[in-house]
Amino acid sequence: MRQRRLDVETAFNAVLLGLGGVIAYVAWGYGFGSLALPGPGLYPFFLGATIAACAAALIAARARAGEAAPRLDKHGARILLVTAATLCLWILAMPVLGYVAVTFIATYALSKALALEGWRKPLALSGATALFVYLLFGFWLFIDLPRGILFE
């Protein structure tokens, strides 16, 4: 028997179908009012229903076509994970380390993740980017960004 692989795009459409249903359900609770005096729920209900209908139609179309979305290769998946993780870590570390230091570290990590060879080039790139970000935001635009516990 042929094993069916989970199609990620169909799964995504199924999530949207569910989400459309939830939006319509929640909007229902806000009240429709009447057509002459529409309530706050009428418009989002219509949108939720449209999202659910489009997602259902796309699921049906994919099932008929019998095609599966192209899978991300190992290289792509690794880059996606490392980049997203670095961006998330930037947010978590920024209040503690300050925007200049965290920008330096994030740029270094990203350039290594993207296979920038050696350590000199990534270091120079990170230094230049951190300096540019400091000059742009702190010096030119006077935006008060977290400087970190060491520089407060």
């Binding site: 939720g48 489009c54 192209p70 920008t103 994030a106």
Partner: protein, 505 residues
């Protein structure tokens, strides 16, 4: 009769240091973005939007438009020299532009593209200058039913023109419209989809979504792809002169492309991209030697490149006169103007005439700057095309992070941007168009207000919309378009079935 005094005042206003620098910076950054494969004008505009906030709406608008049409100029450079389109609107240019480069005519192709873009840009600005105030005045008489009609027609066309599958386009528009309903509804102050969270009361900010979908998702897309270093042809300044025959063959395509692009810009969807394909098809049809197309026909380079530049100006008309953006870059511009409390639309010419006329004047200057910038620096821009993404992407990512945080000093916005970036990455992979989503987010509040006001006006009886000729026409066109698409699909299926039966399958 155009108001030339206002234009002169616009020139005086645009001659401030801030506006001139914004114009030059926009043109230069736009050209670089156009040259660099991957990072498009929409992502760059979203990325730079926060930096324009301290400088006022006019300066911001000038810079944003400079980036957009600078990218149209720059996109052609890589198409001709490397056979890689810098952005989507330059795909067609690869067909004949690269062939010209292989025949040693790269310099001539680039010079004619620059000249064509300049002529088209200038004619487009002239068209905008003449038409926008007239249409803006006419739009003053529009009520909620007319705006609702325009909006529905725009959504129907957008869903059909932006994606291979119109359902995907419709899904993205509906999702964008939904996102704009989160927060307190201004019509009745009712909080929706906030789930008791204070952060969601004011809604989800547009900027993190735009930067995530266009900036971070592009970074992820380029990073996940395997990089192949392009081979760049060298061009010297003295090689930029086209010969007499090339010049003669370029004039008409240039003018045709300019007019065609301007009117294509009035349509919803990726107008700059569509205009290039239509222009190429027209030039090939009109040519006495269509067999040369695909083998280095100068008409196939100049026509489309002129069309995409004037399409930028054409697409400014619905934005400035109706406040309805028909393309992703103009949606970013609308968001930028709203950040400055300037609402584009019919009243713009009365409430903020200086914004419009300074913008027009600056565009004339910007167009000239682009011509001066592009021709002598073509060799430099060609080298920029070979910058490795490993050097660019980390810098773009961290500037996105700091940029989006700096707008409201809110980490929540940065989380939204990253989430939008990852979602955008998969949407791109699966062929879901992002532009309709972002236009949906921007137009959501106006659409709901127009719908509810129309229902209130007609006391719930929507059949009364037939008494509003313009709104009824818009809705009829939308309905006809949907019916035509459905019929074509059904007819197509029947034809396939008939063919299959004929083959005995």
């Amino acid at each position: 009769m155009p108001d030339w005094d206002l234009l002169l005042t616009g020139f005086a206003n645009s001659a401030t240091a801030a506006n001139l620098i914004a114009c030059f910076a926009g043109a230069l950054i736009g050209t670089l973005v156009g040259v660099l494969p991957g990072l498009g004008p929409t992502a760059t505009m979203a990325l730079l939007l926060p930096f324009t906030i301290p400088y006022g709406p006019t300066t911001g608008l000038i810079m944003m438009t400079g980036i957009w049409y600078g990218a149209m100029y720059g996109g052609s450079t890589t198409s001709v020299l490397v056979n890689i389109p810098g952005e989507a609107a330059s795909v067609v240019t690869c067909l004949d532009g690269y062939q010209m480069a292989k025949q040693g005519r790269a310099g001539a192709a680039l010079a004619l593209v620059a000249a064509g873009s300049f002529v088209a840009g200038t004619l487009g600005i002239l068209g905008l200058q003449l038409l926008a105030p007239v249409l803006g005045a006419a739009a003053l008489s529009f009520g909620p039913p007319e705006f609702l009609g325009f909006m529905i027609l725009a959504f129907v066309l957008l869903a059909n023109l932006s994606a291979d599958a119109p359902l995907k386009g419709a899904l993205m528009i509906a999702f964008g419209l939904f996102l704009s309903t989160i927060g307190i509804n201004p019509m009745d102050s009712y909080p929706r989809f906030t789930f008791g969270t204070e952060k969601l009361m004011l809604g989800i900010d547009f900027l993190p979504i735009a930067m995530g979908l266009f900036g971070i998702s592009e970074v992820l897309t380029i990073a996940a792809a395997r990089y192949v270093r392009p081979l760049v042809s060298r061009v010297r300044l003295r090689e930029l002169y086209p010969n007499r025959d090339e010049l003669r063959r370029s004039v008409k395509p240039m003018l045709r492309g300019s007019v065609l692009g301007f009117f294509m810009g009035l349509l919803p969807g990726p107008c700059t991209v569509i205009s290039t394909f239509v222009s190429y098809a027209i030039e090939k049809r009109l040519s006495k030697t269509p067999q040369r197309f695909g083998h280095g026909a100068v008409e196939g380079v100049v026509g489309p490149e002129s069309a995409n530049n004037s399409a930028v100006m054409g697409s400014m008309i619905p934005l400035l006169t109706l406040g309805i953006p028909f393309a992703a870059p103009s949606a970013i511009m609308l968001a930028g103007l709203r950040m400055h409390n300037v609402e584009p639309g019919p009243t713009l010419f009365g409430t903020h005439p200086e914004v419009f006329w300074t913008f027009i004047a600056a565009m004339y200057l910007g167009n000239l700057m682009l011509l001066v910038l592009n021709l002598p620096l073509v060799g430099l821009f060609a080298r920029v095309a070979s910058i490795r993404p490993q050097l660019l992407l980390p810098v773009i990512s961290v500037i996105c992070l700091v940029g989006v945080y700096s707008v409201r000093n809110a980490f929540f916005d940065v989380w939204v941007m990253i989430a939008a970036g990852v979602i955008g990455f998969f949407l791109r992979r699966w062929g879901y168009p992002i532009a309709p989503f972002i236009i949906g987010v921007v137009l959501g509040p106006t659409t709901e207000t127009s719908l509810r006001q129309t229902l209130l006006m007609f006391k719930g009886d929507l059949s009364l919309i037939a008494g509003r000729p313009l709104a009824a026409t818009m809705l009829s066109i939308a309905a006809t378009f949907i019916a035509w698409r459905l019929a074509a699909r059904l007819w197509g299926k029947r034809s396939v079935l008939a063919l299959d039966e004929g083959k005995g399958l």
